[in-house]
């Protein structure tokens, strides 16, 4: 955090100065470790064992915050007697189909409950017999062409858990429970059995964290949780870029719920996101599987009309139960007067998914020739995405490519100077791709909002006009849309474009569209044309329009609330008048949980929001994340829907049952509970179960990017990639800057003195890092910051590698592309690649060049 979110880290330092204890769990010793009370080096890819052992410690010693757990989580819910745990099936849950390599999650349901299909199940029900892939059942070098091909007959599943919107999956609002938590099939007891084998000994053996380190951490977090105290966990992509990434976060969620650390000040699980508006890019997504506000994109086989769609798009209870209002208001925002009740509000205008259309699958479709045209906008996949060679092969097989950026990033110039030219694999003249480079406006040359890592929208005022041909994306897409609309026919396929609302006020000589007008459309308007104030005002009948329901209120009272800048020192510590946080300007989500079931603060010290019985409303330091006038003793009537179906003691208002889910009865593709699986490429056998890796992980068997075999002596080291303070992602925003280039001029790899000695590596000299994808060279940094780990009687070496360099991109400093080393293997819920724990070999000296590089890789592949 000190390295990659330095200014955010000031608050950790403040907390420490006030007595907080700071632990840093990371494979490397960093600036964060230097400030922390305790650094615990961990083997990359083993965090579920550590977190699972903390859960086991809490459960075995009954250290959970029992009153919170029984009232606010699903600990007491009773699960179907068809459920079988990984304890019973050696690392698999019930419902796994070895032929399709997918789970049927019906046995994970609450007893007697009805259930939605799990995330991973949505497509193959209709595609019948599509075989799932898993490396465990197939040797290396046996590609099965076409398996994951875009447009092929066997699409994998459509999207992940977000197919249920921002709520949880559909389930019973009132499942059977045992409040004593003794029933053998209640969630609490299932949890206890599941995590029993996650012991301190296992932590030592799998993670490399010694016993005393674990004990210190376990005692600290339990002592620091409860009525009077809270503990927070912060993470970044070190937890997400894994084949079990979603389950990493689930494990932390379970721990935090058991300790009563959710929805309370100083608690939570804080995702430290790495880009200025990466949160906003998910809220208003340029992502294939969702529409604005986490509404699922419709699926061809499930969603023939709006009613089908709503019936399969998640829960009817909790605030997600209002999804018809959210969806209809979005359709009205996009298709205006053309969208009527009679035509399903133009629901038919939406294109349909049939499977995984994510980034990596799209790249395969480029190589296979399905994708003809590609827009790359403020992104540099030739350097920044895993398996860079695969990315570049895709770019080289397009008809046309539009790249928009501040500098000539490698994605724009691959045809002229890419690594494949130097190895002789391709020639410039042979690349048929037509390339348009469109220079972009910088953040100070346009206005608009970023959404930061705490869901806070902040408006940026424009400082000056962009130079030359530089334009904002807003201007580019607005004018592109105008030009496309001017080229339409009367053909039915053009109807969604013809009827699209696309009339924004134009400003200045360059006719730039008004960003405030777009923000106002996102906010939404009522029947009177006035800006709406809250998403609870949205209606299902087409009388309201709203481009993103969770952002409704950002333009309340016709005021750009995101532009509010009341100085922090002139307001409370919650600072509610700086910017605007979704939803409804709530700064801490689910903050009903900061009060006890009766609505009183758990303690004076941790008071945040509470029930004011005299005034009959919730009040406090933050906007209550709860219906303002719903009393703590409210009980839902039979058959109630939406938020009315949740009791006054149900804080998790987006969930179908209002509870924090320790056990997920539906919604995940790889199991209702987190389970330790080894990374796809690992030097170790999984010591916990017979099942080596996540059985549902997504694999691409492609000759462009083969995998390192598990436990291969050819690739004995663990490689993990990371960022430096002085650079940003693929480097286009940092390598061209003289100050930053000077501070970190060269790609390096961090190795321990022991490994350096063993391999003959010299500090400041060169090393070559090899995987089955390619080999790159880097300067050697011999340092105690990475320590060899003793795991189950053997020494495992880890290598740290920043990934900011590329061959061009306008960089004042250049270097090999670290991401070229990485495999294409994905988490099955969210399709994020496993970039943080892979295997490699390390050799002294520079990498070979030209053909010799290809020959070296072939030697490694052939073994």
């Amino acid at each position: 955090m000190a390295e990659c979110h330095p200014v955010g880290f000031q608050w950790v330092v403040e907390a420490k100065a006030r007595g907080a204890k700071v632990f840093h769990v990371d494979p490397r010793f960093t600036r964060t470790s230097a400030i922390a009370d305790r650094h615990l080096p961990i083997r990359a890819g083993s965090d579920i064992v550590l977190l699972g052992a903390l859960i086991n410690h809490v459960l075995a010693n009954e250290l959970d915050f029992r009153e919170y757990v029984t009232a606010y989580t699903n600990a007491s819910s009773i699960v179907s007697d068809d459920f079988r745990d990984t304890e019973d099936l050696d690392g698999l849950f019930s419902g796994f189909d070895p032929d399709t390599r997918k789970y049927d999650p019906s046995s994970w349901a609450y007893a007697g409950g009805r259930q939605e299909a799990a995330a991973g199940q949505r497509s193959e029900q209709f595609e019948g017999g599509g075989r799932r892939e898993d490396g465990a059942g197939r040797g290396q070098g046996e590609p099965e062409a076409g398996e994951q091909m875009e447009g092929g007959a066997r699409h994998a599943e459509a999207a992940g858990a977000d197919q249920y919107g921002s709520g949880g999956a559909e389930t019973e609002a009132r499942p059977l429970t045992d409040p004593t938590l003794r029933h053998p099939r209640c969630v609490y007891q299932i949890l206890k059995r599941h995590f029993a084998r996650y012991t301190p000994e296992m932590v030592e053996e799998v993670c490399g964290i010694p016993r005393e380190g674990f004990t210190e951490l376990a005692e600290a977090i339990t002592a620091n949780s409860g009525r009077e105290r809270t503990t927070a966990w912060a993470y970044a992509v070190g937890w997400t870029q894994h084949t079990v990434g979603a389950q990493y976060i689930r494990t932390a969620s379970i721990l935090q719920l058991l300790l009563g650390n959710m929805g309370r000040p100083g608690g939570g699980i804080l995702a430290l996101r790495g880009h200025a508006s990466i949160q906003g890019s998910t809220d208003i997504p340029t992502l294939f599987n969702i529409l604005p506000g986490y509404l699922p994109m419709p699926h061809a086989h499930r969603h023939e009309n709006l009613d089908d769609y709503l019936a399969h798009a998640g829960a009817d209870t909790g605030f997600w139960g209002r999804k018809r209002s959210y969806m209809v208001s979005l359709l009205k925002a996009w298709w205006g007067e053309a969208a009527t009740e009679d035509n399903d509000f133009c629901f038919g205008h939406l294109p349909r998914l049939t499977g995984d259309h994510g980034h990596y699958t799209t790249v395969m479709a480029q190589i296979d020739g399905t994708v003809k045209g590609y827009f790359v906008v403020g992104e540099n996949p030739a350097v920044g995405s895993s398996g860079g060679r695969t990315q570049r092969l895709g770019l080289a097989n397009l008809d046309w490519l539009v790249v928009r950026d501040l500098t000539l990033v490698e994605t724009a110039t691959f045809w002229k100077d890419g690594p494949e030219l130097r190895t002789g694999e391709t020639r410039t003249e042979d690349v048929a791709t037509e390339v348009f480079f469109m220079p972009a406006a910088s953040h100070v040359e346009k206005e608009g909002t970023f959404t930061n890592t705490q869901r806070l929208l902040q408006w940026r005022h424009k400082a000056l006009d962009p130079p030359g041909d530089c334009r904002s994306e807003l201007s580019f897409y607005y004018h592109l849309g105008k030009r496309i609309r001017a080229r339409l026919s009367d053909d039915e396929i053009d109807r969604p474009l013809r009827e699209l609302t696309w009339d924004y006020p134009e400003e200045g000589e360059r006719a730039e569209p008004s960003a405030e007008a777009v923000l106002r459309e996102i906010n939404g308007t009522g029947p009177d044309g006035r800006a709406l104030s809250a998403y609870t005002e949205l209606e299902p009948d087409g009388s309201t329009r709203c481009g993103c329901w969770i952002y409704c209120g950002v333009y309340a009272d016709e005021v750009n609330q995101a532009a509010r800048r009341k100085p922090g020192r002139e307001q409370s510590w919650v600072a509610p008048e700086w910017g605007w946080a979704w939803p409804a300007n709530r700064r801490t989500l689910y903050n009903r949980a900061s009060a006890d079931p009766q609505g009183r603060p758990w303690s004076e010290r941790k008071a945040y929001v509470w029930w004011d019985a005299d005034r009959g409303e919730w009040t406090g330091h933050d906007v209550p994340d709860f219906e303002k006038d719903k009393p703590p003793d409210y009980l839902p009537p039979e058959g109630a829907l939406a938020e009315a179906a949740l009791a006054g003691t149900d804080p998790f208002i987006m969930q179908a049952d209002g509870k924090g889910w320790l056990f997920a009865p539906a919604g995940l593709a790889d199991g209702p509970l987190p389970t330790h699986y080894e990374p796809h490429e690992s030097p170790l056998r999984n010591p916990l179960y017979g099942q080596q890796a996540n059985p549902a992980r997504r694999i691409y068997h492609r000759e462009e990017a083969p995998y390192n075999p598990p436990q291969s002596p050819r690739f004995p080291y663990v490689l993990t990639t990371y960022r430096l303070t002085e650079h940003h992602t693929a480097g286009a925003m940092s390598r061209p800057l003289a100050y930053l280039a000077e501070l970190q001029p060269e790609l390096f790899c961090e190795v321990s003195p022991l490994l350096a000695e063993r391999l003959g590596l010299v500090n400041g000299g060169w090393a070559t890092i090899v995987t089955s994808r390619t080999a790159i060279e880097a300067r050697v940094l011999v340092t105690d910051r990475v320590r060899p780990l003793r795991l189950a009687g053997r020494t495992v070496h880890q290598i740290g590698l920043p990934y900011h360099w590329g061959w061009g991109g306008g960089g004042l400093v250049t270097g090999d592309v670290a991401n070229d080393l990485l495999p294409l293997v994905l988490d099955p819920n969210v399709y994020i690649q496993e970039g943080k724990a892979v295997t490699c070999d390390l050799r002294p000296g520079r990498r070979p060049t030209g053909r010799a590089l290809l020959e070296l890789i072939q030697e490694y592949r052939d073994g």
Binding site: V7, Y374, G378, H461, L480, I493, L497
Partner: protein, 186 residues
């Protein structure tokens, strides 16, 4: 924050307190006359740092149509005026000489960039979108209506504004382009 003994011995503090006579040795008529370049800016825009997602406040100083300085915004309750090395260097991000400010075009099989007028480029791109969409239009797949093109894809960065992502998703969806992705996946 930290209030240990070391900080009171810090030379800067000792100078400020006047405990160290050497402080005045660094003073001269020239240094007395030095003014920060922020003082004579024509305008100051309140902005937000474009690097990580902490969202530090920035003040962007402009004089004679050029950015002369970018500093932390002390009013921000998030950053309290602070910026990290990248945020502090962000004036260079918007002013560095390597910034490409003209449209460039590479024709199929071409070996060099060519220059191209912005309006022409916009028209050419619109032509290609319309043509590719028609050529790759998929009305049905497996007997189900899909109304889409699998021939056009997009990968958008996570430094774009919400308003920009919104127009992108809206236009792509109306076009029937579904392979729309973002750094948020990566």
């Amino acid at each position: 924050m930290a209030q240990g003994g070391w900080i009171s011995r810090w030379p800067v503090l000792r100078q400020l307190r006047g405990e160290n006579a050497r402080g005045s040795a660094a003073r001269s008529a020239r240094t007395d006359a030095l003014r920060p370049r922020t003082e004579d800016a024509d305008s100051v825009a309140r902005s937000v740092c474009p690097y990580c997602a902490v969202g530090c406040g920035q003040l962007v100083y402009v004089k004679d149509g050029r950015v002369t300085q970018i500093e932390g915004d002390p009013d921000s309750p998030i950053s309290r005026g602070r910026l990290c090395p990248k945020g502090s260097a962000s004036k260079q991000l918007v002013t560095h000489p390597g910034r490409q400010t003209q449209v460039l075009y590479r024709r199929p099989h071409g070996t060099e960039w060519e220059s191209l007028d912005l309006e022409t480029a916009m028209d050419m791109i619109a032509d290609r979108v319309v043509r590719t969409r028609r050529e790759t239009w998929q009305q049905e797949e497996g007997g189900k209506v899909v109304r889409r093109t699998m021939g056009i894809a997009s990968l958008g960065g996570a430094t774009l504004d919400n308003e920009e992502n919104y127009l992108m998703k809206k236009l792509y969806t109306a076009l029937g382009a579904i392979q729309v992705e973002n750094q948020a996946r990566i």
